[in-house]
């Protein structure tokens, strides 16, 4: 397990996209807002991570024009929804394990 949220970036990206399709900037904003600023990482690293998720067919994307700006909008696929459920379960199990170990200190 990594303390750095970058280690869980894929899980976080899938979780944000679960609610609605979004472009990279909106995803970064949502991550920052939902985590209360805890999940901070170089914003640009979400793009390679999103491409990786797309290669694994967990997200799909398409260019959309918003005024003069062209943006890539990502959405979760069916496989992405299943992967999110699995990754969430794994994370919760890990979290329980860590809590249990830390509880021995008290």
């Amino acid at each position: 397990m990594q303390e750095n949220p970058r280690g869980q970036l894929e899980l976080l990206l899938l979780a944000v996209l679960r609610s609605r399709p979004a472009h990279g900037y909106a995803i970064v904003q949502a991550l920052s807002e939902r985590s209360g600023g805890i999940c901070e990482f170089p914003e640009g690293t979400v793009y390679p991570a999103l491409q990786k998720l797309e290669r694994e067919r967990l997200v799909a994307s398409e260019w959309q024009r918003d005024g003069a700006r062209k943006r890539r909008v990502y959405r979760l696929t069916r496989a992405g929804i299943a992967a999110l459920a699995k990754k969430t379960e794994n994370w919760k199990r890990l979290e329980r394990g860590v809590h249990a170990v830390l509880a021995w200190q008290e």
Partner: protein, 255 residues
């Protein structure tokens, strides 16, 4: 968009060079992201310069993005194997064409200068009557046998390489055709343009130059026997290296 973001994107572009469509997409998304971040910063009361500095700082260094891009692009075993296969396919085709060119040059040298210029038998060879008959010389003397033997060797150093060259041309045509066919394009995806082109330019070109230098030095020292073969090998190697040189130069000089 002003200078700081432009400079940042130029640097990112340099670091992503050679990464193809995936890299280009990251660059376009980076540009849209930074533009939006700067606009929001300005709307929140920052000066344009502050907004740019802040947007760039939050986005991460170009090295961070390029590293994340490289890590995210890590290939599966099958994909990696496919790219090695594609590189082997292309390099083998070019090598085969070089062999064909060598045969063609041997043929030209043999006709222009003489058969001994491209091939010869050792001076102390003894031609048996049976060997002479195999070479089609009946009741001939040793000189006739020797001439027939050299003509036979010329045929070997011309016909076989030309055959290899023809096969290589088919191999290369198949590669180009597969590259244009959507279903087969994946088979021709190369590992890395910089790596393949540099390996081709340095490998073929380097060996070609060495052989060419050897042939030219032999000529300078008055050697006339089999020198043409070295010149043909050298010229074919250099020609194959030149096929890759422009791409290698573009990749290396922009690194």
């Amino acid at each position: 968009m002003t200078d700081a973001v432009e400079v940042y994107l130029d640097r990112l572009f340099d670091l992503l060079a050679g990464s193809g469509a995936r890299g280009r997409r990251v660059l376009l998304e980076a540009q849209a992201h930074l533009e939006e971040a700067v606009e929001q910063g300005v709307a929140a009361g920052q000066s344009r310069e502050e907004a740019e500095r802040s947007a760039i700082a939050r986005f991460g260094s170009p090295q961070d993005i390029a590293r994340a891009h490289a890590n995210a692009g890590a290939l599966s075993f099958a994909e990696a194997l496919g790219r090695v296969f594609a590189a082997g396919w292309l390099l083998t085709a070019v090598a085969g064409l070089a062999v064909g060119l060598m045969g063609l040059l041997d043929m030209i040298f043999a006709r222009a200068v003489g058969p001994n210029f491209v091939t010869d038998d050792p001076a102390d060879i003894i031609y048996t009557a049976e060997r002479c008959r195999e070479l089609g010389v009946v009741n001939g003397d040793a000189a006739a046998c020797r001439a027939a033997s050299i003509a036979h060797h010329v045929d070997e150093v011309v016909t076989r390489p030309l055959f290899v060259g023809a096969l290589a041309l088919i191999l290369l045509s198949l590669f180009v055709a597969a590259r244009r066919a959507p279903l087969l394009r994946g088979l021709t995806r190369l590992p890395n343009a910089a790596m393949v082109s540099t390996a081709g330019a340095v490998g073929f070109g380097g060996v070609g130059l060495l052989l060419l230098a050897y042939g030219l030095l032999s000529l300078m020292f008055g050697e006339r026997v089999e020198v043409g073969a070295h010149l043909a090998e050298g010229l074919a190697g250099v020609a194959a290296g030149l096929v890759f040189l422009p791409q290698a130069w573009r990749q290396v000089s922009s690194a």
